[in-house]
């Protein structure tokens, strides 16, 4: 088991390496540089030249890449041109925000999705099932951002129930106050995100439950005289829930991807917004760091899922 994990991690390294080269080259290929467009009457071309030199932007790409990767190994992702701040610090700040949001969304997603999927599967073909399926179809068909914009308009502005921008209210004070305020800021985006995230879970779980319901081991359980509700509890739920729970690792990556939309609509200063901003300002260091980080998280997610699955499912367990 440990060996498998270790091997997976070793395989990850070349993948990350290729990704890093790719990302680096792509970022460099973007037209412009961090200093174009910052038309400042006081910023002379000499000064721009000076800054470009200072940041090694005239070096050939492999040289730049090499410097970058060497620093990377020292945990230094460089300095953001736009924020003149170490990228690591920047990502720490924004990453924490995105992480909270993602975590909360995930909790909600599973909190809503699991019961709904089970419910639909249990009442397959009945009225309740039809309702749930209509919900999934409709949600699937609406673009995510439309839901976000409509959501913020109704609940944020018209009803004024939730804050509409930022991650914490400036007035929040004290530890309790700030935690509450942070929570307040992620409830609406989290809920809307969850509304979306559930669709897959509900559909998958529903068919899992239906499959399990007709499986032979359920028949065996019934032949033991186990009442139906216990059959659901001990056999059907467990067996159809576990694989889904194990796939949570994958869904983190999905959440992070969707966070770009959420953060944009809710002006929520997370990594997604940071990325969009970095694209506009050609903030290479931030772009490369973020893409690499997301790639790493994707890897981590798959790895976690695999590990979780092998723990949860004895059949996959490697002895």
């Amino acid at each position: 088991m440990w060996k498998t994990i270790l091997r997976r991690i070793l395989i990850m390294i070349p993948e990350l390496f290729i990704l890093s080269v790719l990302v680096f080259l792509l970022a460099k290929a973007m037209p412009g540089d961090p200093f174009t467009g910052s038309i400042n009457p006081r910023l002379s071309p000499a000064q721009v030249h000076h800054l470009m030199e200072l940041h090694g932007l005239y070096d050939p790409w492999y040289q730049q890449y090499w410097n970058w990767i060497v620093h990377l190994f020292h945990g230094d992702l460089g300095i953001s041109y736009e924020y003149t701040e170490p990228v690591v610090d920047l990502i720490k700040q924004r990453g924490a925000n995105t992480l909270w949001l993602a975590l909360f969304t995930m909790i909600l997603t599973y909190g809503i999705g699991l019961p709904l999927g089970i419910y639909a599967g249990r009442h397959e073909g009945k009225f309740q099932d039809t309702l749930v399926r209509i919900y999934t179809y409709v949600t699937m068909s609406i673009p995510f951002f439309v839901v976000l914009v409509i959501g913020i308009w109704i609940f944020g502005y018209t009803l004024n129930w939730f804050p509409t921008s930022g991650s914490i209210s400036p007035q929040a004070s004290g530890l309790g106050g700030s935690i509450l305020s942070r929570l307040g800021h992620i409830i609406l985006p989290g809920l809307l995100g969850a509304l979306f995230g559930t669709v897959n879970i509900v559909q998958y779980l529903r068919s899992e439950v239906i499959d399990a319901k007709h499986s032979d081991y359920v028949r065996t359980a019934r032949s033991k005289g186990v009442p139906m509700k216990d059959v659901y509890r001990h056999h059907i739920f467990r067996n159809s829930l576990l694989p889904i729970a194990a796939f949570a690792g994958y869904s983190i990556t999905g959440l992070l991807g969707g966070s770009i939309f959420t953060e944009m609509v809710f002006s929520y200063p997370g990594m997604g917004l940071l990325f969009l901003n970095a694209i506009n300002f050609r903030d290479y260091t931030v772009i490369t760091a973020l893409v690499l980080l997301y790639g790493f998280l994707n890897l981590l997610g798959t790895l976690l899922s695999d590990i979780a699955l092998s723990i949860v499912d004895p059949r996959v367990r490697v002895e």
């Binding site: 973007m30 467009g37 910052s38 038309i39 924004r94 400036p170």
Partner: protein, 584 residues
């Protein structure tokens, strides 16, 4: 204390006139003043969070840290400003220029203190120059003008540890600083000039941080100190700042007990105002409220819209030359596609900027008539006619200049096919609709105009194309230019100006520009006259055509008293008060 001075301009048709001030009816109340003044910073990205004006490079930062200064955009500022942005006495320091000795003497007032209680010293006045000129600095402020300070060039090159031209007659911890120049400029009398840095940096507080690391230090990011009426309570990185009165402030104590400034995206700002989340938008004379939102905001019952003309304008640029990379000087090409003055003029006459402004600007923008924004009342040439829409004239100009129609399009005077490439940065739907309109009009005049890449260009691609020393991809473009409070246009239209991207150079132009800061120009009248002359000259050459002026505007909630963004109000924060505990 506030003059109700509206910014109505003559010369062009401007449909809306807005007050620069707002005063709520009723009295300020204790409940109101003890509550929180909520200010929205309209920006689509989180702010950078560099509180030091020397290191900051964008407007958002100076907005969210504004309560640390006496006015919008004036953090830790040394001087008070009078009409026309002229430096006057009465601020944290007074300035005395000695033309003969070529010195500027800056004297701090006795009670000037930082918000942590420390005294503001002469070293604090000098330290910004060290930061700006440092070899490893992240500051983007250094320009050739600073070389006028004795010893600055040596320091900037890393040859000297200190700047020899800055001296302290009563010691580093004293109150006086004398700056020695190699030459003096009339611009030094105005705020925002590029010779004398107008704010202080807390040397004692910063001294343990290397200048190269200053921008990311907690002293700048997390716990900065200020000299203004408010002290920073908390900064939520990228999102918001909160403030309370600074008891060490030398001037009039502010009345409002709490201020928060929070970033709001431009998409959401109107909704935010309609649900009364904010009292007004941050930025004072530089607010970036989109003009397309004006009609909706105007309709809000509990807000009154205030505004002042922006310190900037948009323009049409024509590519008439290139930059000699060896000498660093711009050169006009006689044979450039756009070198014909009449062609350029015709193109400017062919677009109806009045109509465009009316439809897209909702009265928040209006046709520009010169290349100096009207906010500089003393030097702005209000009488310049500009290029009022006249398609007939456009056509006749073209005909006269020999651009004859052959088939569908006009050819150049030599009978060769003429295709003009228009470049514009992508932006809102409205900007892009404007581009479409321009092209339509030019085509109506018979010119075959195409967009350079077939569509609006992304900002970075646009600038990397146009900033090349020599390029033929973009023949005409629209750009925007914002000025500091000292409007000398050398940086954009000068012979060695890198931002003279159309490479327009004439003897007369150079002469006029030089005259703006010549010795004679210490005479304000002469200076204003030369400014106006220059504006007329530029219009006559039409190498750069004025496009639009616009307003900086914001709704102000009806609980706010004493809102006044006029340039000569040096007590913006202290004058504010509130009549109710929540936005009305």
């Amino acid at each position: 204390a506030c003059s109700n001075n509206s910014s109505k301009q003559s010369g062009t048709e401007k449909s809306v006139s807005l007050p620069a001030t707002y005063n709520a009816s009723g009295k300020a109340t204790a409940a109101g003043n003890n509550s929180t003044l909520k200010i929205a910073e309209v920006n689509d990205a989180p702010f950078t969070g560099i509180s030091s004006p020397t290191l900051a490079s964008n407007a958002e930062d100076s907005d969210v840290f504004a309560p640390g200064g006496t006015q919008w955009g004036q953090i830790n500022t040394l001087f008070n400003v009078g009409k026309n942005y002229k430096i006057i006495n009465g601020g944290m320091a007074n300035q005395k220029l000695d033309r003969k000795a070529k010195t500027a003497t800056i004297t701090l007032r006795k009670d000037a203190r930082w918000s942590n209680g420390a005294k503001v010293t002469a070293k604090d006045v000098e330290y910004p120059y060290e930061i700006i000129g440092n070899k490893k600095t992240t500051s983007q402020q250094y320009s050739s003008d600073y070389a006028a300070i004795k010893g600055m060039a040596a320091y900037h090159a890393g040859k000297a540890k200190t700047i020899s031209g800055i001296t302290y007659p009563d010691g580093q911890n004293g109150r006086t600083v004398v700056i020695h120049f190699t030459k003096m400029s009339p611009a030094m009398q105005y705020e925002g000039n590029s010779f004398i840095w107008a704010s202080v940096e807390p040397y004692e507080y910063f001294k343990n941080v290397p200048i190269s690391k200053l921008a990311s230090s907690p002293q700048v990011r997390k716990h900065p100190i200020f000299t203004g009426p408010y002290k920073l309570d908390k900064v939520v990185q990228g999102e918001s700042t909160s403030w309370s009165p600074n008891k060490y402030f030398y001037g009039k104590q502010p009345q409002v007990k709490h201020i928060t400034i929070q970033v709001v995206s431009s998409n959401n700002i109107v909704s935010a105002f309609s649900s009364k989340k904010y009292d007004f938008a941050a930025g004072g004379p530089d607010i970036v409220m989109p003009s397309s939102q004006y009609p909706k905001v105007k309709a809000l019952k509990s807000y009154t819209v205030t505004g002042v003309p922006q310190m900037g304008y948009s323009y049409f640029g024509f590519n008439v030359g290139h930059m000699n990379t060896k000498t660093g000087l711009n050169v006009m090409d006689k044979n450039a596609k756009m070198s014909n003055k009449n062609l350029r003029k015709a193109m400017l006459y062919a677009v109806d900027m009045d109509a465009v402004s009316k439809k897209f600007g909702h009265g928040m923008t209006w046709r520009a008539n010169t290349l100096i924004p009207p906010t500089f009342k003393n030097v702005y040439n209000a009488k310049a006619p500009g290029f009022k829409y006249n398609m007939k004239k456009a056509k006749s100009l073209l005909n006269k200049a020999g651009y004859k129609k052959q088939g569908k399009w006009r050819t150049d005077p030599n009978g060769k096919k003429l295709t003009i490439h228009f470049g514009g940065m992508s932006g809102s739907a409205a900007t892009e609709a404007e581009y479409q309109y321009y092209m339509q009009q030019w085509r109506k005049a018979g010119l075959n105009v195409k967009m350079t890449t077939g569509k609006p260009m992304e900002m970075n691609s646009f600038y990397s194309t146009i900033q090349k020393p020599s390029q033929n991809k973009i023949d005409v473009w629209t750009g925007a230019w914002s000025t500091s409070s000292e409007p000398t246009p050398t940086q954009i239209y000068g012979v060695d100006a890198p931002y003279n991207m159309g490479h327009f150079v004439t003897k007369k132009n150079t002469q006029l520009l030089n005259s703006l800061n010549s010795n004679k120009a210490w005479n304000a009248k002469y200076r204003a006259q030369q400014f106006k002359k220059w504006q007329s000259y530029m219009n006559s050459q039409a190498a750069y055509g004025p496009e639009q002026f616009s307003m900086s505007w914001t709704p102000v909630n009806h609980r706010v008293k004493g809102y006044n963004v006029n340039a000569d109000n040096n007590n913006f924060w202290s004058d504010l008060s509130l009549t109710a505990a929540n936005p009305k």
